[in-house]
């Protein structure tokens, strides 16, 4: 296998306490050495342009790849192409496909598609309940054996406390997280937007933050009862963050994630720039400034463990309807890194090592998968990021099959230079061409 020496990049590897200029030697599919002034020793040498960061591969633990069954929205191939273009070396994909990923057959199908695409690593997440119907547990041990790294009924919260209790209890034998989309269905009702002034002004039915926090509190109590491993998905309400802090303070095994859109946007987006834009309709909904600010505070103080995108591609036709009728969700894989740099790093909310923890170290730890580290011997999954790159978001040129993003046309500071999976460059940003970096990366 060939050797590649990444020369003199700024290595940010909090798992190994590194933040500084280092050389990194890739040997085949793994990292052979990290150090200063490493000899070329027959390796192909790539000089890192100044300012680029060499980070452990980013992992998006909340992605909808839509395959099987909804290939008009996304496929494993297009979704993983979007992932690597967004700097992610791995994604965990949600089970609400058609059919639902509630059995080893579907898991195997997704993994076969991922192997065929051969871009980002794909970690399937299985269903909690058969058909995500909330009645009977899915065959969780078989899902685990087939390659699922967690279970969730994402999109449909686990409605009964009893089934959630059983899921948390059952999975303790594998130390496998149960991921919950927290939403008390009767309180959500037929709501389509955050309950507050903006929804009221637009005549949209509201969903209060408590619809989320009530279920988070229920699940945290159940995790305490069972000693199960709970992960709260796409948190949006300040009350939910308080619930997670409460759980953590009691030693409950609970972690949580937030999406870039929930720490960047608010429900003001419902009214302007485009009133009733269905690309700001997602579940949980964009909430008010106090919630957005609470998410930033949670990222800053460490209460929030992970940034995940909830990448939810939908076809243009599905979104080109009345706000009430449009499906919930926006894409996220190809905008997350830019939003994180622009709104978190350059805004002084987090340090670079902390950002790498949120996007790489912690997702790997929570899902119990390889990654999150540039240790010698680790898989060579590496994200090379360009914190000062000027990025103009263009929905039309995205790799995802869908275009449903509210960030189209935004100018952001920070982006992706290249993505390496298993020692192989799978994405190099064309904007880096002028430095000769692109040619060097592709080899």
């Amino acid at each position: 296998m060939s050797k590649v020496l990444l020369k003199n990049g700024r290595v940010i590897d909090p798992a190994n306490g590194r933040d500084g200029q280092f050389d990194l030697l890739i040997d085949g599919d793994h990292i052979a050495r990290v150090g200063r002034d490493l000899p070329a020793d027959g390796a192909r040498m790539i000089e890192m342009p100044s300012g680029l960061l060499v980070c452990p591969g980013l992992i998006d633990m909340h992605v909808h790849l839509r395959e099987p069954g909804q290939e008009h929205k996304e496929t494993v191939a297009t979704g993983t192409a979007a992932a690597v273009a967004g700097g992610f070396t791995a994604v965990a994909c949600m089970p609400n496909t058609a059919p639902v990923n509630d059995n080893a057959g579907v898991t195997g199908y997704i993994l076969a598609k991922a192997a065929e695409a051969n871009l980002a690593r794909v970690y399937p997440i299985g269903a909690v309940s058969r058909g995500q119907n909330g009645e009977h547990l899915a065959d969780i041990a078989e899902l685990k054996a087939a390659g699922c790294v967690a279970i969730t009924d994402d999109g449909r919260p686990v409605a009964t406390a009893m089934l959630m209790r059983r899921a948390l209890e059952y999975t303790t034998m594998f130390d496998m997280p149960v991921i919950e989309h927290c939403e008390e269905q009767t309180l959500k009702g037929d709501g389509v937007a955050h309950e507050g002034f903006n929804a009221s002004a637009l005549g949209l039915r509201g969903i209060p933050g408590e619809a989320e926090s009530i279920m988070a509190l229920r699940d945290i109590s159940l995790a305490e009862l069972t000693r199960g491993v709970l992960h709260i998905a796409h948190m949006s309400a300040r009350q939910t963050l308080d619930a997670v802090r409460y759980g953590k303070s009691r030693g409950v095994r609970v972690t949580c994630e937030v999406t870039p859109h929930h720490f960047v946007l608010t429900d003001e987006m419902l009214r302007a720039p485009v009133a009733y834009d269905t690309n700001v309709k997602m579940n949980p909904p964009l909430r008010e400034a106090a919630d957005r600010d609470a998410m930033l505070a949670g990222i800053r103080d460490g209460s929030i463990d992970v940034i995940a995108t909830d990448h939810a591609p939908h076809h243009f036709d599905e979104k080109h309807v009345e706000f009430d009728h449009a499906p919930f969700g926006i894409t996220g894989l190809e905008t997350a890194v830019s939003l994180c740099f622009d709104r978190l790093v350059h805004a002084g909310v987090v340090s670079l090592p902390r950002l790498v923890e949120l996007l790489s170290v912690n997702p790997a730890r929570i899902l119990r998968v390889a990654g999150g580290s540039l240790a010698e011997g680790a898989p060579a999954d590496i994200s090379i990021l360009a914190p000062d790159l000027r990025v103009i978001v263009s929905a039309a040129s995205m790799r995802s099959k869908s275009r449903n993003t509210p960030f189209d046309g935004w100018t952001l500071r920070g982006g992706v230079a290249a993505t390496i999976v298993g020692g192989r460059a799978v994405y190099v940003n064309e904007a880096m061409e002028r430095d000769g970096f692109s040619r060097a990366m592709w080899g």
């Binding site: 009702g189 309950e195 507050g196 002034f197 903006n198 929804a199 009221s200 002004a201 637009l202 005549g203 949209l204 039915r205 509201g206 209060p208 485009v274 009133a275 009733y276 036709d317 080109h320 309807v321 009345e322 706000f323 009430d324 009728h325």
Partner: protein, 306 residues
């Protein structure tokens, strides 16, 4: 004026007064033996109604015909929204036939905004979901101004199902823009979150809202709201919030009682109030035609079109 009338927010204070002044002139046309002027001759107006409507559709149609526009009514059963053509496709098809205006009634809030992004035709919102019904607020303002000679400084109490009412939202925007002291009143289950940010007073006590009011505007209670457990019973609603003669007596002696219709007698309003001396409910209906004529005329270009 803007291209479309989707919300009262599309109109400035001056434009609202212009609509109301123009409506005065339009009303005169309706009192002639031959109730027709050639103002909109050669203009095509499509009345696209996705919800059943008697009053509003008829009112628009009469207004259009009095202005000599060529009008066309399309009534779409609500169910076909789900199984048939999308609103966007319907809009593009209608647009392909080059109408000048589309009057849209739709069950989804913001449906007019979607149409407005697709169509070059001017869009008039004739009621979109729980959002707005701007021509209703304009005809209400016209009726109030006629009786009170002003709107600025009046106490207007709006009582009923505030949450689901598009009439409420348009009236609140218009009346606060023109300087009225607006009170909204209903059981807390019917009060939209954050409504005080509209600059209104909120009270669950109908006596307080009615006290010294110049105008009392009742909103319809929809029977189906019972299922959502918003209120315990229609009977209790009437005893707690229904507009009775006793409650009207708390208002100013020259109070006017309004209702956008259709009314539920004995639920939100007692019959003797609806039919009583203070009621202007049927005047609202008459004024609707004149106000819609004014809106159509001004959106078509007003004096420039003459």
């Amino acid at each position: 004026m803007k291209k479309d009338l989707l919300s009262i927010d599309d109109l400035t204070r001056d434009e609202i007064h212009l609509v109301l002044d123009t409506a005065e002139a339009m009303r005169e046309i309706g009192q002639r033996p031959i109730k027709k002027v050639p103002t909109l001759r050669g203009k095509t107006i499509v009345n696209l109604f996705y919800e059943p409507s008697t009053r509003t559709r008829t009112s628009f149609e009469i207004a259009e015909k009095r202005l000599s526009a060529d009008t066309l009514n399309i009534a779409v059963a609500t169910s076909s929204v789900l199984k048939g053509e999308t609103l966007a496709d319907t809009a593009m098809n209608i647009e392909a036939m080059a109408p000048d205006m589309i009057v849209l009634r739709h069950a989804s809030s913001g449906a007019g905004h979607l149409l407005s992004r697709i169509c070059r035709s001017r869009i008039i919102n004739a009621g979109d979901g729980m959002h707005e019904h701007p021509t209703q607020a304009l005809l209400d303002a016209f009726t109030i101004r006629e009786h009170k000679k002003r709107i600025d400084g009046l106490k207007v109490a709006i009582v009923g199902d505030l949450l689901h009412s598009r009439v409420l939202r348009s009236n609140v925007l218009l009346l606060t823009k023109l300087g009225a002291d607006v009170w909204v009143c209903g059981p807390p289950t019917f009060v939209p979150s954050g409504i005080e940010r509209f600059g209104v007073r909120v009270s669950p006590r109908v006596d307080e809202a009615a006290d010294g009011a110049d105008v009392i505007m009742m909103l319809r209670i929809q029977q189906e709201r019972m299922q959502g457990a918003f209120i315990p019973s229609l009977r209790e609603y009437f005893t707690t919030f229904g507009m009775t003669r006793e409650r009207v007596a708390r208002a100013k002696p020259d109070v006017i009682i309004m209702h956008p219709g259709p009314m539920n007698r004995g639920v939100e309003i007692a019959s003797d109030v609806a039919d009583g001396p203070y009621s202007v409910i049927l005047e609202q209906v008459s004024n609707g035609v004149a106000v819609r004529m004014a809106v159509l005329y001004l959106l078509a270009g007003g004096a420039e079109a003459d």
